[in-house]
């Protein structure tokens, strides 16, 4: 009878609707959540998202060939599996622990490789750790982690160099509101910058995302794909490659520029 009762209790629990926003945690004025693309930062229902995703991250092989972590072919063949929708014991525990802020959102993808994006949140700091497993016998020269931005976003550095086209009226408003002047650096589609911090500010949300590179990392702005990439040298241990990207969320450009 005990076993029967436990089975009924488990059955009762299986009826519960899996929340759509299972894994969401706040990082200052933004929220971090999981999606089919990976992890993303967003704000309320403004519809603006900033992704950390294997569909935009890349690996550069020893022969100089650069490929996405997940290729279009793999998507077309339907070999990409994620951990997003299953209602099983690990996902239930993860959801509950995330609600009580014991854990932070994470997302796994499986192709011929195992790719995971996990997060750590402390105050307004967010660190995304990407782990790629099953990489034996592969020579990789460089790898990049990235965060996406949107077409109308301001992408700038602490010297007020602006790396994305923005609406002139909004740019004037930005300069007037935040008492600063931006210098356009938009001649090239792919810009490598010596700066160690890049800011993304969307006119459609409040808050600024500061992407911070470590001394051994390099920042690239890819206007074509609308991503800020942080490139790191590769160290593969036991077939596993681990990288991190650190971002900080500020309330306004003024606060962000002051803090860096």
């Amino acid at each position: 009878m005990f076993i029967f009762f436990i089975a009924l209790c488990v059955g009762a629990f299986l009826g519960v609707s899996q929340p759509k926003n299972t894994l969401t945690r706040s990082v200052n004025t933004l929220q971090l959540t999981t999606s089919e693309n990976g992890l993303s930062l967003f704000q309320g229902n403004t519809g603006e998202y900033f992704y950390f995703s294997p569909f935009q991250d890349s690996l550069t092989y020893g022969d100089g060939k650069k490929t996405g972590l997940i290729t279009n072919d793999e998507v077309k063949k339907g070999v990409v599996k994620t951990n997003s929708s299953a209602l099983n014991i690990p996902s239930v525990l993860e959801t509950l622990m995330n609600y009580f802020t014991v854990t932070s959102p994470s997302m796994n993808f499986t192709t011929d490789k195992y790719i995971s994006y996990s997060s750590r949140i402390y105050s307004n700091n967010l660190t995304i750790t990407r782990t790629i497993g099953n990489l034996k016998n592969v020579k990789i020269g460089q790898t990049s982690m990235s965060i996406s931005f949107n077409s109308s976003d301001f992408v700038f550095d602490k010297d007020r160099n602006s790396y994305n086209y923005t609406d002139p009226e909004l740019t004037a408003a930005f300069e007037h509101t935040f008492r600063t002047t931006l210098t356009p650096k938009t001649d090239e589609l792919y810009i490598t910058t010596p700066q160690k911090t890049i800011f993304i500010y969307s006119p459609k949300i409040s808050g600024v995302i500061a992407i911070k590179a470590l001394p051994f990392q390099r920042i690239l702005i890819d206007r074509n794909s609308r991503v800020v990439q942080v490139e790191s040298p590769v160290v593969i241990k036991n077939g596993t490659l681990k990288n991190e990207i650190t971002v900080q969320i500020f309330n306004s450009p003024v606060e962000a520029l002051k803090a860096i």
């Binding site: 005990f2 009762a12 629990f13 926003n21 299972t22 706040s26 309320g44 408003a173 509101t177």
Partner: protein, 614 residues
């Protein structure tokens, strides 16, 4: 926090001690659960006195300056409270209340902590509209009909009884409004769990089943439309009183008595005026139960109860199946359409609240109770089946009636669970209860995550931000008692009006004309045109030629970006705080560039308040 607690407790305690001498004077013998009768008698006396005094106030100029509430409460307290010491003590077995009080406190504490986790204030969106009406009463106005006091209420679904009682409890202490509502929500949850315990105990005479029912009530929250346990609003308060009344009736019947007709009539009247629709159904069931118990021997002689139950069951089934064929298009339009749910919608609501607990254990509970053939349990089944059938019928708003059925459902889930537990030894029984509690709290946490997800804001979940509270304080300090009208999107108005006490057109329920005007505002950039459009908006009950304050909040801009159909719907709001963006600031600066029509009075990261000039 302490003041909020005292103020919230006053809501219950004051009417109880005002009503006790009256009930004891009219009704000499001891009642079971007498507090419910004391509360209703005291509340009605207080409400009637307030209405009468207000009538006097409008007739006699001498009384015109009375603030009403404080004077009436002082007067009644002066007369009635000392009488409490003169009348004999209640035949009150405190021992029998210890276990239910401990159980309710424990489960309420755990459930409320899970629900409010990282949530500083109650998530009850309706509290703001109710507080608007309460503010009007605190300001010295009163009417039986809410829509005569504030245009926030377009539909008079209840009298102002509930609001008068809340006003009486808020009149004596300077308490934070949000803290008050959070505290009273917790007390309401505790009382709902307490009621669940008592009802189940009366139905089954079994403490373990009563404890299980309490746990189900605490952790299975009906988070759509009915909101029985966690939201303190007229419909849930009515449901709670209804359950206490049925519990009292059952208890009296078990002792071979029934409450006197006067008490019975007063109780029925009370729950009816507290919520006309939910209260009417509750009062009808209460009256039917009363009559059944009073005339049970006669009824059982004349009618075969088993056949009657079967007939009733098939009638309910037919009601569920054929209700969708009744042509009710005329009531299913407008806002009602949003609350016209299909059986699948209702099934999903059940899953959200209970998982499959309801489906698996209610039938087992009913089966177990039918086997026992006890008259009282049969009465419980009849009430449950009848109410659930109404909920399942294809009419708008029927899910609201689940608030009456909730505690009966929980009782029969517990009976069903116990049907399996009783066949186990002590060790496995205890282990099963632990597993059950884990599963219940898991279901509840999932429910909370789904419900609160859209309210994530900075490090918390909330419907109102510190910046909005600061703006309310500013408005209160600078525009209180002036002829000023706030104009913004419904959600911003809903929050600012009660917290600042500055009037708006309709709060969250601004009328179609206001919504159309705001939609027109979004289509033009001309400051003078916007200014004249804003002066078109007016409160029909408390109209003003005074200032218009245009509140450009993050919510306002998001609302303006919504579809026209969404902007016209009462069921659509920007539920969570929304910071201003650069685009929003550009718009505000554009209006401010015309100082003839707009001037800045306040701004923070979430809203800009502009004074509009004609």
């Amino acid at each position: 926090m302490i003041i909020s607690l005292i103020s919230s407790l006053l809501f219950y305690v004051l009417p109880i001690f005002l009503g006790r001498p009256i009930v004891r004077f009219i009704y000499k013998r001891n009642l079971t659960y007498p507090f419910i009768s004391y509360f209703m008698a005291g509340s009605l006396l207080l409400y009637a006195s307030l209405l009468a005094t207000f009538a006097l106030k409008t007739i006699i100029p001498l009384f015109a300056d009375l603030t009403l509430i404080q004077e009436v409460v002082f007067f009644l307290s002066f007369i009635l409270l000392p009488l409490n010491f003169l009348i004999s003590k209640d035949d009150f077995d405190i021992q029998s209340y210890l276990l239910p009080i401990a159980t309710s406190s424990l489960f309420a504490g755990i459930a409320f902590s899970i629900w409010q986790f990282h949530g500083p204030y109650s998530f009850n969106w309706d509290l703001y509209e109710h507080q608007t009406l309460i503010n009007t009463i605190l300001g010295g106005n009163l009417s039986l009909i809410p829509s005569r006091l504030t245009d926030t209420f377009g539909f008079n679904g209840y009298s102002t009884l509930f609001h008068s009682l809340v006003a009486a409890s808020q009149a004596f202490f300077q308490t934070s409004i949000l803290s008050y509502w959070t505290t009273i929500s917790f007390i309401h949850l505790g009382l709902a769990i307490f009621a669940s315990y008592l009802l189940t105990k009366e139905l089954t005479n079994n403490k373990l089943i009563a404890i299980i029912a309490s746990a189900v009530t605490a952790f299975a929250f009906d988070s759509s439309i009915s909101y029985t346990t966690l939201f303190f609003i007229p419909q849930t308060f009515t449901a709670l009183l209804f359950v206490f009344l049925i519990t009292q009736l059952i208890s009296e019947a078990k002792n071979g008595r029934i409450p006197a007709f006067l008490l019975f009539a007063v109780s029925s009247f009370f729950i009816f005026i507290n919520h006309y629709i939910v209260g009417f159904l509750g009062a009808s069931i209460y009256i039917a139960s009363y009559l059944y118990i009073k005339f049970s021997h006669f009824i059982e002689e004349k009618i075969n109860i088993r056949t009657a139950i079967m007939a009733g069951f098939f009638l309910c089934l037919a009601g569920i199946l054929f209700s969708s064929y009744i042509p009710l298009g005329f009531i299913n339009s407008g806002e009602a359409q949003d609350y016209s749910l299909t059986l699948l919608d209702k099934f999903n609501i059940m899953k959200q609240s209970y998982g499959y607990l309801f489906l698996l254990f209610v039938p087992l509970g009913i089966f177990s109770a039918l086997m026992s053939k006890k008259r009282i349990e049969i009465l419980g089944i009849t009430i449950l089946v009848f109410l659930v059938s109404i909920v399942l019928m294809q009419f708008p708003y029927t899910v609201k009636f689940f608030t009456l059925a909730k505690l009966f459902s929980d009782a029969f889930i517990a009976i069903g669970i116990y049907y399996l537990l009783r066949q186990m030894n002590k060790f496995f029984k205890s282990l099963s209860v632990i597993v059950l509690l884990v599963v219940l709290s898991g279901i509840f946490t999932f429910n909370a995550i789904s419900w609160k997800g859209i309210l994530a804001y900075k490090d918390s979940y909330t419907q109102v931000s510190p910046e909005e509270l600061q703006a309310s304080e500013f408005l209160k300090g600078h525009y209180r008692n002036t002829q000023t009208l706030i104009v913004s999107d419904p959600a911003t108005q809903n929050i600012l009006e009660p917290l600042s006490t500055i009037n708006s057109q309709g709060g969250a329920y601004s009328n179609k004309a206001t919504r159309e005007t705001l939609d027109e505002v979004s289509k033009t950039d001309e400051a003078n045109k916007i200014s004249s459009l804003l002066y078109k908006i007016n409160d029909k009950i408390d109209s003003t030629n005074g200032k218009r304050l245009f509140v450009l909040s993050g919510r306002y801009f998001l609302w303006q970006r919504s579809l026209k159909t969404q902007k016209m719907a009462f069921s659509y709001n920007i539920w969570g705080p929304t910071p201003l963006t650069l685009e929003n600031i550009v718009y505000a600066n554009h209006l401010l560039s015309d100082p003839e029509h707009f001037s800045l009075v306040y701004s923070n990261s979430e809203l800009v308040i502009l004074e509009v000039k004609k």
